[in-house]
């Protein structure tokens, strides 16, 4: 599960990024002249109050949105210049997402949910099955492969979400409040799992969180406030 890095440079390199949303006649500047470097193999926690722009920044890193100004490079590739079509293909190859509410498809079993990103590859059915089994094994849910999301606990559903995020062995794993909907025990298990993926498999992880307990598990924490990054929390 080794991720391709950016050579000697940072895996994530964000320079002078601004993001402005247009709401009617009003322009809302969410990110302001933002710079961020994340080296390969880092587990970065991104904290900040609601509305500070954490999810917006995560969307820009994940290629789900375009910046208004500035550059976003991942593994040496300028993704802010890619078309929607190429960006979709890029996401399939390089990004794994983990969401607060798991975002599993309720009509599919755990293994089918995990298989979804692999449908976009040229892998054979047998190869896809093998990858799915490995990912479920990695999150400790091999025995729940045939279960539907409704038959799983919140913590188990999030594990399936993580398995789906890592099944393609992406360059970067982006987690948006991965423990936000879980109790403390289940949350701890998820954080331990993310930590293991980072330490044992070298996976680069960027995690948005409100929870200082969660950010303590990361190797570095940065704070976002009113669209600007700081290394210390601000009131």
């Amino acid at each position: 599960m080794s991720a391709p890095g950016a050579g000697d440079g940072s895996l994530v390199d964000i320079r002078g990024v601004e993001k402005v949303f247009h709401r009617g006649a009003e322009d809302i500047q969410v990110l302001k002249d933002l710079n961020l470097e994340v080296p390969s193999g880092e587990f970065l926690a991104l904290m900040g109050p609601s509305g500070s722009g954490k999810s917006t920044l995560l969307n820009l890193i994940g290629g789900l949105d375009h910046p208004t100004r500035g550059t976003v490079s991942i593994a040496g590739e300028r993704i802010d210049q890619l078309s929607d079509h190429r960006l979709a293909a890029w996401r399939a190859r390089h990004i794994g997402f983990v969401f607060q509410l798991y975002n599993l498809l309720p009509v599919l079993t755990a293994e089918r949910n995990v298989e979804l990103p692999l449908l976009l590859t040229h892998l054979s059915k047998a190869e896809r099955r093998s990858h799915v089994a490995t990912a479920l094994e990695a999150v400790g849910l091999a025995h729940r492969a045939k279960h539907y999301p409704r038959q799983l606990s919140g913590g188990e559903q999030q594990r399936v979400g993580i398995a789906r995020g890592i099944v393609t062995d992406p360059t970067l794993l982006l987690c948006d409040e991965p423990t936000g909907d879980l109790d403390r025990k289940a949350g701890d298990e998820i954080l331990s799992l993310l930590q293991a993926l980072n330490r044992e498999h070298g996976k680069t992880i960027i995690m948005v969180t409100h929870d200082p307990h969660a950010s303590a598990r990361a190797s570095r924490t940065v704070y976002l406030n009113k669209g600007r990054l700081t290394s210390e929390p601000t009131d």
Partner: protein, 384 residues
């Protein structure tokens, strides 16, 4: 194919809604099958029966008779290869529900004119030798359990015998089959010489003529010559293609094609709305899930294809079940017991029906598919 379980899973999401929509599509296509069979029964002869044959009837209407002597005059018209005639007998067997067509004909001329009627040589010979002999189609023979050698009474609603009786008796000397599937095997044909001699009125007059032309490329020219031959006489004629003549019979009910097209138009428009609403609702309900698919790398084109495939699967599934059910239900043949002898679901309409269900899927899925394609990932993920 690898996306099939995803598409199928989405359809299984709200089982009741999917089943009800599926059933409405099934019912629409069963109705389509029935109406196609009825249309085929009423107009089927038009496109399939001999293009080399013309029908000559009285210019005023089909119920006006023509002189039997016209035959010899027609035979002399350039381009005419053969001439024979028939007359509407309008009889019933035992009770009015047991109606079928019986016409007096000249056996040799008639059989030569209609090669699609298959009659064994010995039965043909028996007919020529039996003055009261009649041949009957396989379907009617089976319907009434008639066998060769039976004597059958037929009550005419038009023709009485010289003794005033409307009851005629015929000896079954042959049972004919059809060369093609759409050859009508319900009529009975009996000898004109027996009929003409025995009837009280109308002697020497016939219902209509069938003319075979020498050159199939010039039937219109021959038709003009025939009508010109009898112009300004007491019995002016109207000559038309055999198919048009059969259709004219059906049009006594109304414009069958228009009636069936109108009913089907209304049904399919309703189905379009029902299915379209189901797919739209289904897509609206899972905006977040569609956003997820885009987030993990599904392209706009793949999103479009995914939703279209879902609506097409629903429509094709319903359509194929409906077409299959219609095929089965119509395969038992004429449900009226003789009024619709060519009642079957034609293969060309089955193929057209399949094309219609694919089109239904594409049309109903297009709008929701475009919505899914245009989803902004970041916005849709917030709607979980």
């Amino acid at each position: 194919m690898k996306f099939l379980y995803l598409i199928w899973g989405n359809l299984r999401r709200k089982k009741t809604r999917t089943v009800l929509t599926l059933l409405s599509i099934v019912v629409a296509f069963v109705l389509y099958g029935f109406l196609s069979a009825i249309k085929q029964a009423l107009t089927g002869g038009v496109s399939l029966e001999g293009a080399n044959r013309l029908i000559v009837r009285h210019k005023v209407s089909i119920i006006q008779l023509l002189p039997e002597s016209y035959k010899r005059r027609m035979q002399k018209i350039p381009g005419v290869a053969a001439v024979t005639h028939q007359t509407w007998f309008g009889g019933i067997y035992q009770d009015p529900k047991k109606f079928f067509m019986q016409n007096p004909v000249v056996p040799d001329e008639f059989l030569d004119m209609h090669p699609e009627i298959l009659l064994p040589a010995e039965q043909r010979q028996a007919w020529l030798q039996t003055r009261t002999g009649a041949i009957v189609g396989r379907k009617t023979a089976e319907r009434f359990n008639w066998k060769i050698g039976d004597k059958v009474p037929i009550q005419s609603s038009i023709w009485s015998k010289k003794n005033g009786s409307f009851l005629w008796e015929f000896d079954i000397v042959g049972i004919f089959d059809g060369r093609e599937k759409n050859t009508d095997t319900t009529p009975m044909f009996f000898r004109y010489d027996y009929f003409d001699e025995a009837r009280r009125g109308g002697t020497g007059q016939v219902g209509w003529y069938t003319v075979r032309v020498q050159d199939t490329a010039r039937p219109a020219e021959v038709a003009k010559l025939v009508d010109a031959e009898f112009e300004n006489s007491s019995y002016e004629t109207k000559t038309e293609a055999e198919g048009a003549f059969v259709q004219a019979w059906a049009k006594q009910i109304g414009d069958i094609a228009l009636i069936t097209a109108s009913i089907l138009g209304a049904v399919f428009f309703t189905i379009l709305l029902v299915t379209g609403n189901t797919i739209s609702q289904s897509v609206r309900e899972r905006t977040g899930e569609l956003g997820l698919l885009k987030a993990i790398g599904f392209t706009n084109a793949q999103m479009l294809a995914l939703v279209l495939a879902e609506s097409c699967l629903l429509a094709v599934l319903g359509g194929v079940i409906g077409l299959g059910a219609a095929w089965l239900l119509t395969s038992h043949g004429d449900p009226t017991g003789g009024m619709l002898p060519l009642y079957f679901f034609p293969a060309r309409d089955v193929i057209a029906g399949f094309a219609m269900c694919v089109a239904l899927g594409l049309v109903t899925g297009l709008l929701p598919a475009l919505q899914a394609m245009r989803l902004r990932v970041a916005d849709s993920l917030r709607r979980i």
